[in-house]
Subunit: 474 residues, 4 copies
């Protein structure tokens, strides 16, 4: 079962559609650094450019300015933690069927593709990739013979289960769909007379588009002839199950996601933390930049001074030079260096946004001890992550989920802390605007959509019933 | 007259001297991104590797692990704003003279090399570069016939005028010198049994070396046979004239420079600012990351909340894709995006570390206005920069010095601010530990060392007596 | 209708299967420089690496030594003259269907895929590429449900029409097939205990494999469990229609192709030319290297001295520097420079292997005139090419077929020759061992397999009934 | 003592001087593949671009079209077999001295630079490279104070000993000099109204310049204000001692060198060989391409048929894939593959231009035996190379000189030949036009210019008096 962070961007009717898509993806690069792709439609031909690596590496001016012609475009960036990071798996996924040129870009993770795939293969379908998306495309094509494309997409959506926000380009139509629980974000904006779509609104800001609203769960939006039509694909409304991790950690703080301002929610989580777990200390500090905003909230609520006492080396990039044996924890130290005089003799509160494996944090805490910190307390702006996500967040990218198998006391001891507090689930929900609209499965194990694929189930079983890290099936 | 920011690193007696130098330079990359070089001595042969670009691009494991043999090494990183960014001008500068292999790395700017150069050419010297350093090397060689190397270096230092911290490798000796005013930083540290030297102590932190002390003005340190000797090169002590811009802007906040903790001095400047120019507002924010530490100081002193409301795109790198005509101020917006909800209707204090040309700041202020900021006040943590620096800080990299020709009121109007305050000179001096030890020429025009070269003088004259931007002579 | 030169290589049971395939492709690089791909099977997993460019650029030691695991491997190199040189179209073409991993590499061109494609799309198939090969793979899968893989391949082969030599890897089986007319070459060899397959035997020479025999038309060879089985796929034998252009021009002179030694056949063509069209002259020379071997034959038969008087620049590669306006015919001159003293005042016979568009030859002849050649006669070792090839040779790569629309006299005048003679068809057939076994359609227009696709037909019609250059349909 | 093959090119007065120089170097790439450099003068400024690698890799359109401004240009390509292949040693060598910008490009090897260097160092000179050229430049500068540049160059030439053809750019003058024995080639040509200079005339052919004449030994040519002046630098004429290896092996066959047509001289050497050492055989063949032209001569004189039976892989380039252990002699086989049917049962005469170490030839002979050759005779178009060259040909690039220590019989046995004959010295001289004008030191040990440097002498002594391979001193 593959897990992917991804970013989507689409634009309809812009004379420089590929260029707008390029910048939209560029602004959302944090959502996926493994591969990038753009497809365009110029009224006659579909064109594509995909490659491994960052947006700035995959595309050049020749691609954007000359080759990717057309005023409809959509793009995708992908992050995958599996070994199978192949160009073959880069998106958008493009097929030709008669006169139809169909491209699909997908953010999320389906939970019944294994079953669907076997069913399709029995009917003669062949697959070139391991992506859920290819299954979805086959479903569209199977329904296309008796139906217009919109209906074929709707019928395909009703067969698949799990989390998906998708963009679909079908010749001169641009279609966006969201699953009935609304797991993953997707927003609509306006750029002059044209519609734009993006996973996060920071993409709109860069191209100076105006944010209109998020897509609703189960909604299908069709842009055609410059006009946008919306429909609900499902008869029965499902409860909203938006991914709260987008707010805690994943989205950019300057984005709107699910209609929320990410920056403000993170600060609010810090404030709740300060009320839930106050401690007498000399200063509050984040491990930059992930904990910055919750730390601001904690500092403002507690009245303790905020310090940015871990200094980032702004030029850290890929280096192929290895440290010597004696240079322990080099890869941790090279990124952030503490300011000794701010640490020595101090009682410190560190605010972090999450703890997954904990090894990096442990190294940093140890370094602070060596520099003479008197007390080190940690406050985490989310509850303990005890369960894997089947809907598109890959915690395995950071290794084992430490909270799945260890008590908070054990974790505090492992990390070398004087105290440790995780934000409670009620505390977390009090920090967001509408508390009933989020998926909390990674905290409480209540999965809103059943995982049908045996692969997923097996993995749970393999792990002695305890949820663990799910690997890709081959 | 060339101006250079630079970084120096040296190590004596370490089995992986080149590797330590690599990491030392890597930690100081902010001091120069144009070229990098390392030389080593293995008891018999000198070896060098230099190249254009970042440290991580210039060196690979083959260079560091195999080719740059020896237990004495020194390295240099360079930043130059002139068109003449040639590999030819990369340092360390290496010459062969009989059995002597001599390498010199220089940080700073000399003010009498034109005169010296003409004198040397009259004696038959030839020059391959336009660097001050080549003149210095010729002076050493001229004195070498009757003197040991230490004495030749001392005599050469007495001929040159201006700002210099230098490392000199002369076969198995590693020598460090600082000019009699001590303009530019250079620190001594200890790594196990070995001595290390670096422009900033953040280089020591990365390789876990211990910081001992800064070099004194006029001091020469010779490391030989594992031992360090120190001497004063000049009979008469000069007043300390350390570059206060290292503390305001240039050095990393986690470094010690001239014995000061940079982070604390910047925070203190922010506190003084808050006392000098208080204003009623809703929040204090920096333009990241340069204003971060002064903004913390201002927030703590004023009691106003600190917000990090300009969000950095962490993946901004080189992109060769051009924005469209309509995308105004793209290059400014792509780096930092404000969080709209933090700005709208707010009275904002922005803390910056300096204003050179002002155009970027102006664009950002305009953007904040568009997002609905009610009031925008700016507080700058240094006095107005009115005079060019002849000792190694190249303000021209940012274009015209706006404060040289405009009043504070004019600048505030140009930037679109409700109010603008620069830290006063007495305020600045009150924020550092020893207020008599700094060069303030860029603020008050009192140049502690006379600029002898006609190039420098001409430029001043060309400018109608008013100091301006000095260009390189060819 | 796409035309491709291609090279195939396969090996079964070798511990370094990917490495052998790499070197096999490397030896056949002249058959395709656009893209290269290798797939391997290790008993459990299929692996692939494909890329644009030369074999040496697409693969590195990590791919060959570590990632492409398994003792069965096959590879493909491709040359395409169309704009659609996409990685997407690189081969081998790989699909997953249930537990089956199927890879196909194809050399040749089919003539009924448009029809088949429409039929398959009507049944729900989707296509990701414009390659014939994808159609073939769909056909295999459609037949797979009731049949073992060998039978599915055989049934698929009976649906397709045109020219094909193909390698098929189906989990642990390696299958080779050739069309019933045997248009394109494919040879079987032995490397220790293992079987190898290659388009040309020069691939065997490099890895020191032993050449066994060519595949027969209509033959299917299955290698499984280290054993090879052969079968005839078609009930009725078709006449052999081997591509005589492999012998004239395309294959390497050190290869066996269709059981013939290419070098000897080319020399024989030159001898027949000398008998068909003798001329009194001072010397015989080729335009290297294509005419070398026929020129040797002409010289030996005529007794006139052979000179290699056009000197190749061995370092000509990609240069991005443009010549000036005044430097006419630069791209022709940069490759070959005549030795003036060998040309001046001489009566010269030039032996060439073919004339397609004629513009390069014209430039060279003009240059020889400028250097003072007294007479220039050209002898061409093949008949005039008057008709397009639908079976896999893309004459369009060199532009218009000059002989399709012009008389020999016109061509001689265009090229600036004193005389011009093309080898006659009977002369050509007398130079090969078995004269009834070759396709001569490009000379006489007798197409042995009817072109069904309307694309092909349309193009003929578009051209006013006269055959011309066929373009790819989109 | 370094040995270098090199190529020089200069042009005066051309509006695209850098572009002409680029193409001139490109045509002579066989003379040096290690580094390339071009300098230009635009009346005010000197500009340079140098880099490691082929001409096509070192320069791009930006360099040639924009940066290297000016209508005077000169360039250099270099080949060095020593480990010290550093960019630092790339030429032209450029210095600044007062207002003078001086660039020097050198082909050849001096024999008294060690002495001169010590003398110059005693006067305060410093050296940045190990190149002879730097010594020469110091000598020019030392003489410049009392003399115009032409006289300073002349006086410098009179101090240096050995082999040199040099181009010197001194602001708006372009100067060419040749040593009094005329060891290395340099030719003058005309391109429209402008003068051009090149090591070989194939450079003229590419840019369509007209060849005028070779420089004479001891001649200095000064191009200034569009006019050329010539003078003899030495009072007493020395005997011509041109490097006969340029004719045998090094120059391109389409070049004029020392006034000779290289192609014709090589063919003549083959004819003399056929007369000196006839043998009854089935065919004559070269190992391409070095033996091609002598083989043609041998074939024409003997009447035996010429075959090009070793086929080159035209796509052999850098591959980083290693063959397996079992693949013996891979690197030899990958370049040339014999045509088996031309070898089997045949009596073969192989014509080669030289034998240095013999290992590659041995492998090829063994391969021919394996393919069934009945007899293999080798004829070599030069006498045995028994002595090192001190004037610029680096035999060490091919390893040990096999003929220095072994008899012809021993060598024939080592190579596995049925017979072996080397061209005799009288035979060689009979094949060139003026037999008294060549240096034969590598054959007979009579060095026309004494090697003064102890380095050279020591190496001879180290080798027990027998000449061997000379290594670079450090």
């Amino acid at each position: 079962m593959k897990k992917e962070y991804c970013g989507l961007f689409g634009v309809y009717g812009h004379p420089e559609a590929a260029r707008m898509t390029y910048f939209g993806l560029y602004a959302m690069q944090h959502r996926g650094q493994e591969s990038a792709g753009i497809v365009t439609w110029d009224g006659e031909k579909i064109r594509e450019q995909k490659g491994m690596g960052l947006v700035a590496d995959v595309f050049n001016e020749r691609h954007i300015g000359r080759e990717l012609k057309g005023d409809i475009a959509m793009g995708h960036i992908r992050y995958s933690t599996t070994g199978a990071s192949l160009l073959r798996n880069a998106q958008p996924f493009l097929v030709r069927h008669g006169d139809l040129r169909l491209a699909v870009a997908h953010n999320g993770n389906l939970v019944n593709t294994k079953t669907l795939r076997e069913e399709l293969e029995a009917q003669g379908s062949i697959f070139q990739t391991t992506m859920d998306t290819e299954v979805f495309v086959h479903l569209i094509i199977r329904h296309l013979h008796d139906n217009p494309i919109e209906e074929a997409v709707r019928l395909a959506c009703r067969r698949i289960k799990g989390a998906y926000s998708m963009l679909i380009m079908a010749n001169d139509k641009l279609i966006a769909v969201k699953d009935p629980n609304g797991f993953r974000p997707l927003a609509i904006g306006r750029l002059g007379d044209n519609y734009v779509l993006a996973s996060e609104t920071c993409a709109f800001d860069l191209i100076e588009a105006e944010y209109l609203r998020p897509l609703s769960p189960g909604e299908m939006v069709v842009i055609e002839d410059g006009k946008m039509h919306s429909m609900q694909m499902f008869e029965e409304l499902q409860p909203k199950k938006q991914c709260i991790f987008e707010l805690i950690y994943f989205a950019r703080p300057d984005s709107y996601v699910f209609g929320e301002v990410v920056y403000e929610r993170r600060k609010e989580m810090g404030k709740v933390l300060a009320r839930e777990a106050p401690v007498d200390a000399d200063l509050v500090m984040p491990f930059p930049d992930s904990g910055n905003y919750a730390a601001i909230g904690y500092s403002q609520e507690s009245g303790l001074p905020l310090e940015l006492a871990m200094i980032r080396n702004h030029y850290v990039g890929r280096t192929f030079i290895q440290p010597t044996q004696g240079m322990r924890d080099f890869s941790v130290r090279v990124k952030l260096n503490p300011v000794k005089s701010m640490i020595q003799g101090k009682r410190i509160i560190i605010v972090e946004d999450s703890i997954v494996r904990g090894t990096t944090i442990r190294t940093r805490v140890k370094k602070l001890r060596e520099l003479g910190a008197r007390e080190i307390h940690m406050r985490v702006s989310c509850p303990p992550i005890k369960h894997p996500c089947f809907y598109g967040i890959d915690f395995s990218s950071k290794g084992e989920l430490i909270a799945a198998n260890h008590s908070v006391e054990d974790i505090a001891r492992f990390l070398g802390l004087d105290s440790l507090h995780y934000l409670t689930i009620p505390g977390l929900l009090s920090a967001v605007s509408r508390e009933n609209e989020y998926c909390l499965a990674c905290f409480d194990g209540n999965y809103p959509v059943k995982v049908e694929d045996s692969a997923g189930k097996m993995c749970l079983e393999d792990n002695g019933g305890r949820p663990g890290i799910i690997k890709e099936y081959c």
